[in-house]
């Protein structure tokens, strides 16, 4: 009798859990069509929300796969790379860390392209004497395309040159790993401000 009672309780709890989960999931995915018709007149069109993702969601293995995200590329300053630096007479070498995080055992690596004149991030600084492109001041010490395995961190050295003399009026500008592209979301946590 006690066993039967325990089993019945267990089955009831499983059903309760599933109902709770399905109901919550449904709320997250779809709203009633009435929400739409109240604005636009009679309609049977269903309404769905488009969320806005950030690194908080993309780095969360419980949330990201719900949106078909199986991993991400994380870029950070190496410990020896300062967040602020003064650019003297010479070029500067800055080291950044590229790490690929996978949420799926089937996704074991990702290809990353580093090309300051290619797709990805570019930075321009407007100053008194015009606009210069930070990408034109940057070169990398690695080949254009690299493969990063899941869980692997690869240091990449970036050489930063001085802006051309005709842009002498600049006060400061942001710099960092520009022209990086991959087939996974990129979260760039680097922060470097260059002063004259």
């Amino acid at each position: 009798m006690r066993k039967i009672l325990g089993f019945t309780t267990l089955v009831a709890l499983i059903i309760f859990s599933l109902v709770l989960f399905v109901e919550s999931s449904t709320i997250s995915d779809t709203d009633a069509a009435a929400d739409v018709s109240s604005d636009g007149g009679p309609s049977s069109t269903s309404f769905h929300g488009i969320p806005f993702l950030t690194s908080m969601e993309i780095t969360d293995p419980q949330i990201a796969p719900k949106y078909g995200i199986n991993g991400y590329l994380h870029i950070s300053n190496s410990p020896e790379t300062p967040s602020e630096l003064t650019l003297g007479e010479y070029e500067q070498c800055l080291v950044f860390l590229l790490r690929f995080v996978s949420f799926s055992p089937e996704v074991t690596e990702t290809q990353v392209t580093l090309d300051p004149s290619g797709p990805g991030l570019s930075i321009e600084q407007v100053c008194k004497t015009g606009t210069f492109k930070v990408n034109d001041l940057i070169s990398y010490n690695v080949s254009k395309t690299i493969t990063i395995k899941a869980g692997e961190t690869i240091p990449v050295a970036l050489i930063l040159h001085k802006p051309p003399a005709n842009f002498a009026g600049w006060v400061s500008f942001p710099a960092g790993p520009v022209g990086i592209s991959a087939n996974v979301p990129i979260i760039d946590d680097t922060e470097v401000t260059v002063y004259g």
């Binding site: 009672l5 325990g6 309780t9 267990l10 709890l13 499983i14 309760f16 859990s17 709770l20 989960f21 919550s24 999931s25 709320i27 997250s28 709203d31 929400d35 739409v36 018709s37 604005d39 636009g40 007149g41 309609s43 069109t45 269903s46 309404f47 769905h48 929300g49 488009i50 969320p51 806005f52 993702l53 950030t54 690194s55 908080m56 969601e57 993309i58 969360d60 419980q62 949330i63 719900k66 949106y67 078909g68 995200i69 797709p119 990805g120 991030l121 930075i123 321009e124 600084q125 407007v126 100053c127 008194k128 606009t131 500008f173 942001p174 979301p185 760039d188 946590d189 680097t190 922060e191």
Partner: protein, 290 residues
């Protein structure tokens, strides 16, 4: 044994409902340009967080301000969206840093994503802009760290180059009725992962405009609350920005092309007029974004 199983099931049920709750949040309230639907190649808004006490934002939350626009093929005919939504947004975090997160969506899935720190809450202005020039979409941020950089018009310009999707060649601007639903194709507003109720935060959206081929132009502005803010249609459904209404947020200050969203505890209603003017956008910077 039975007790242990009961505990496991209760924990599982709590865990599963918690996961669903995380995705269920995403409160949003915004506005839209209320005019006849037209094509546009660029959209823009000047945004700021400077009146917000960032230290009161919990570390698990972010305060975002986002512009969103529907993509379209201009021979499809011109008023038919593709279903793709392009978004450019900035997030204020609990440490005062401001991060940029451009992204594009189709039927509930992200198509591309990038995130980078671009400054802090003390910056006097950021312009969020999205350009389409098939086969590319560029997401831009014009960051003005100080009053001096603003006065001298010396921003740092961040550009993330990505591709168009679904053959998009243009953006849709304005409002249109389709199958009984009003679609508001270009929206601006505030969004979080979860409601931020710990401080009376404030976010400004200014100089909201689109580029019509010859000039930056704007229509009158109205509010669009979640559920009434469909931006595009795809797969037989209407798709809107966010995941629920941002309760407690009001539009406390408005002017032509300008609204300041403020968490006051009072929720702004849908389709409230923000400004009635329309015309060519005149800015106080000399438009490096031109």
């Amino acid at each position: 044994m039975a007790k242990a199983l009961i505990m496991i099931m209760l924990a599982t049920s709590f865990f599963l409902s918690s996961i669903a709750q995380v995705t269920a949040d995403q409160p949003y309230v915004g506005g839209y340009l209320d005019g006849t639907v037209v094509n546009g190649s660029r959209v823009i808004a000047d945004v700021y967080f400077r009146d917000t006490d960032y230290s009161s934002i919990p570390s698990s939350k972010w305060l975002g301000t986002v512009i969103s626009v529907a993509g379209a093929l201009n021979n499809n005919p011109i008023t038919n969206p593709s279903g793709v939504v392009y978004q450019n947004g900035l997030l204020l975090l609990s440490n005062g840093s401001v991060r940029w997160a451009p992204q594009a969506w189709l039927i509930g899935y992200p198509l591309c994503y990038y995130e980078k720190s671009v400054g802090n809450c003390y910056y006097v202005a950021y312009y969020e802009r999205i350009d389409i020039s098939s086969p590319s979409v560029t997401y831009k941020i014009f960051a003005y760290p100080s009053g001096q950089s603003h006065d001298n018009d010396n921003p740092a310009i961040y550009t993330w180059l990505n591709q168009t999707y679904a053959g998009d060649t243009t953006f849709l601007i304005g409002k249109q009725l389709h199958d009984g639903v009003y679609y508001k194709h270009f929206q601006f507003g505030v969004e979080s992962n979860q409601r931020i109720t710990e401080t009376q935060w404030s976010v400004g959206n200014n100089m909201v405009a689109y580029y019509n081929g010859t000039a930056w132009y704007y229509y009158s502005g109205k509010t669009a609350t979640y559920g009434n803010n469909a931006i595009t249609w795809a797969s037989g459904s209407a798709w809107g920005i966010g995941g629920e209404a941002y309760a407690g947020v009001d539009a406390v200050e408005t002017d032509a092309q300008y609204v300041r969203w403020n968490y006051t505890g009072t929720s702004v209603s849908n389709d409230v007029s923000l400004w009635t003017q329309s015309g060519i956008s005149y800015d106080w910077v000399s438009k490096p974004y031109q």
